[in-house]
């Protein structure tokens, strides 16, 4: 289920707010009802005190005299309050007229300390009672001081008015809480809508980036600070996408361009051959030529694909310790015959046990490309020298060939894809900078580097790989 930020924000806000308001209402209700009860108890106690003041003791015993006017609440016929007096031995001394035949439960605490409790009144109403034990004061006329007998008193009164006030407060709080929540919901949704408006603006700006023009960037001006990092990330993503698409386009263009020439050769050769009946030798010659062209095309396609993979990081590498001499020997083997026939001297001078750490296939491909390049461009009767330096962090291999007709200013181009600077190109006709470009990208994928320099008609490439 999709929940919008707007709903989520509002939901959390409302939940928090409701919790706060409920806690607040409960506390207010508790405080108010406590203070109401305290007030009620105070009045009840006052009534009890009035009655207790009316109890006297004299020689004859304990005497209770109370005028109806002193405490009319006990004497009304409708919903009267109740009291009952007990002597120490439990005999009932007096009770309010309302009690008639029924009685009340006796309870009390320590002398002169009132005890309150909720009770059910004899007529069935809910009420509250106070129990009190006290020593009645002595009558002024009494001659002798009677032993200090204690009297217990229970006074009860209905709690209906208290309960209805409590109810009222409860409903008031509930209504206030609900009302506040509704208002907060309205205000909150407006606030959230306003607050999220920049997101809509951002969406509009993102929508404005066209598929065919990834060089566009999302503008960060007049955007809230929270969205600036988002815009930054989006722009990063766009830049990476743009780079990837650019590489893709460059690859397609390069591939198309580079394959056109051999394809044209293939087409022309086949067309000429088929234009009239020929001898078997003619056909054999043409077929051989077509095969060579096709093999070259295959090599170009494979190199291009490899280069594209390294550049997009699709190729997984498995570094291991490699023996550099072995790499060079393996790479030179297929080149040896041709080089020998052209009188090229191959002179590798490597320190013993020269090692590097790299993916075997990639390292072999790099060394192969560098040696093939050297063999290709060395003049007939020339020389290829290889030297190696072993240091703590890296292995440095330098391959130098004679017969370089490039100028020093051409060095920066030798790693460009398809750069054709070879003025002495005679053999394949299709050989291009792809080998060196591929080697350079591959070396950087292995954490190494390749550089080149030209001096005195000698072309040197330096390969650095981690140890």
């Amino acid at each position: 289920m999709m929940i919008s930020i707007r709903t989520r924000l509002l939901l959390w806000m409302m939940c928090g707010m409701a919790l706060l308001l409920i806690v607040f209402a409960v506390v207010v209700y508790e405080v108010l009802s406590r203070s109401l009860l305290d007030g009620f108890d105070e009045v009840l106690l006052a009534s009890a005190r009035t009655i207790s003041a009316s109890v006297e003791k004299d020689d004859a015993g304990i005497k209770f005299e109370m005028d109806e006017r002193q405490a009319p609440e006990f004497y009304r016929t409708i919903k009267p309050d109740y009291f009952q007096l007990w002597s120490e031995d439990g005999t009932i001394l007096a009770r309010s007229p309302g009690l008639a035949n029924s009685g009340m439960e006796q309870f009390s605490g320590l002398p002169d300390v009132p005890v309150f409790r909720a009770v059910r009144l004899p007529d069935g109403r809910a009420g509250r009672a106070v129990g009190l034990v006290f020593t009645p004061k002595a009558d002024e006329d009494a001659k002798t001081v009677v032993t200090s007998k204690q009297v217990s008193l229970v006074v009860a009164r209905e709690t209906d008015p208290l309960d209805s006030t409590g109810h009222f407060i409860r409903w008031l709080l509930v209504a206030a809480t609900a009302g506040t929540l509704v208002l907060a919901l309205l205000a909150g949704s407006v606030a959230v809508r306003q607050g999220l408006r920049p997101l809509d603006a951002l969406a509009a700006r993102i929508a404005a980036v066209r598929q065919d023009d990834l060089s566009a960037r999302i503008l960060a001006e007049r955007m809230p600070a929270e969205l600036i990092p988002v815009i930054g990330r989006l722009n990063d993503l766009l830049r990476r996408l743009d780079d990837a698409f650019r590489r893709e386009r460059a690859f397609t263009a390069d591939a198309a361009h580079e394959l056109r020439t051999p394809l044209a050769g293939l087409l022309c050769t086949l067309e000429v051959t088929l234009s009239q009946p020929r001898t078997g030798d003619d056909y054999r010659e043409a077929t051989t030529e077509c095969l060579e062209v096709t093999q070259r095309m295959q090599a170009v396609v494979e190199s291009l694909l490899a280069l594209a993979r390294y550049e997009s990081g699709q190729t997984a590498l498995h570094p291991e310790a490699l023996d550099v001499r072995e790499l060079i020997e393996t790479a030179w083997r297929p080149l040896d015959d041709k080089a020998r026939s052209r009188g090229i001297e191959f002179d590798p001078r490597l320190p013993a046990n020269l090692k590097c750490t790299a993916d075997r296939d990639v390292a072999q491909m790099i060394v192969g490309a560098l040696l093939a390049n050297a063999a290709e461009y060395t003049n007939d009767g020339g020389r290829i020298e290889i030297s190696g330096i072993d240091s703590a962090k890296s292995m440095e291999l330098t391959i130098t060939n004679t017969g370089c007709s490039l100028g020093e200013e051409d060095v920066e181009h030798v790693f460009d894809r398809f750069w054709r600077g070879d003025r002495s190109r005679t053999h394949t006709g299709i050989h291009c900078g792809l080998g060196l470009a591929l080697a350079q990208r591959s070396a950087s994928a292995l954490g190494g580097s390749i550089s080149a320099c030209i001096a005195d008609e000698r072309f040197s490439v330096r390969l650095i790989l981690p140890v």
Binding site: R260, T261, L267, C268, E271, V272, S275, E289, R420, I430
Partner: protein, 224 residues
């Protein structure tokens, strides 16, 4: 008709040269820019086929030098660059036509034939001189509605003379347009071929088509 092919990719160079030769052209071919320029400025070609990316000297530089040299030879550029700007650049440098690789050999031959005709201000592929009719596209010749079978050299000679009908064409000119640079034949072979040709196209009941102007050369056309 003599054509120069400057193209550094051997399979294309060989196939194009072979195709052109089989179509009756005399062809010189090279893969090197400097050499291409030397050929182009030192000989009178009817058409030069020029690749743009060449070792040594690139195609546009050759073209520029040819034009600076005052050569109006028709130039057909063949290249893998297909952007409009590349084509425009080539044509602006003075090229007459442009073909993007890969191309069909048939098309290349047709374009070369068209350029060769234009070299002599001829636009129709069908040349008619009196009762002689030459179809250049199919390389077939008719006299009085009767087809005449000619060898490659004979046809090349007849076509060249027909292109320049009415003009006096020297032996050297004919030789230059019929033979490749590497050819060992000298200009005397022209007289031999003119003889062969006359035997095939002249009819006893009308004046000869090819006239000899002693010390000057030959001329094809109806004499006034």
């Amino acid at each position: 008709m003599r054509v120069l092919v400057v193209e550094d990719y051997p399979p294309i160079r060989k196939a194009v040269a072979k195709g052109l030769r089989e179509a009756g052209f005399a062809v010189d071919a090279t893969g090197d820019g400097e050499e291409g320029l030397w050929y182009a400025t030192g000989n009178d070609y009817d058409v030069v086929i020029l690749d743009l990316m060449l070792p040594g000297l690139d195609g546009l530089a050759i073209l520029k030098r040819m034009r600076a040299d005052g050569r109006s030879t028709h130039v057909l550029i063949i290249t893998a660059k297909d952007a409009v700007s590349d084509r425009v650049k080539g044509l602006d440098y003075g090229a007459d036509d442009y073909l993007v690789k890969p191309f069909a050999l048939e098309e290349l031959l047709a374009r070369v034939r068209a350029l060769a005709r234009r070299a002599y201000c001829v636009k129709t592929p069908c040349l008619e001189i009196g009762d002689l009719r030459i179809e250049t596209a199919r390389r077939r010749v008719w006299i009085e509605s009767e087809e005449v079978s000619l060898t490659g050299r004979e046809y090349a000679l007849l076509e060249y003379l027909a292109m320049r009908k009415g003009e006096v064409v020297s032996r050297t000119e004919i030789w230059e347009h019929m033979y490749e640079f590497s050819s060992e034949a000298d200009s005397n072979v022209v007289d031999v071929y003119v003889g062969y040709l006359r035997r095939k196209i002249d009819r006893p009941h009308r004046p000869p088509l090819i006239r000899t102007l002693r010390g000057k050369g030959y001329s094809l056309g109806v004499s006034e």
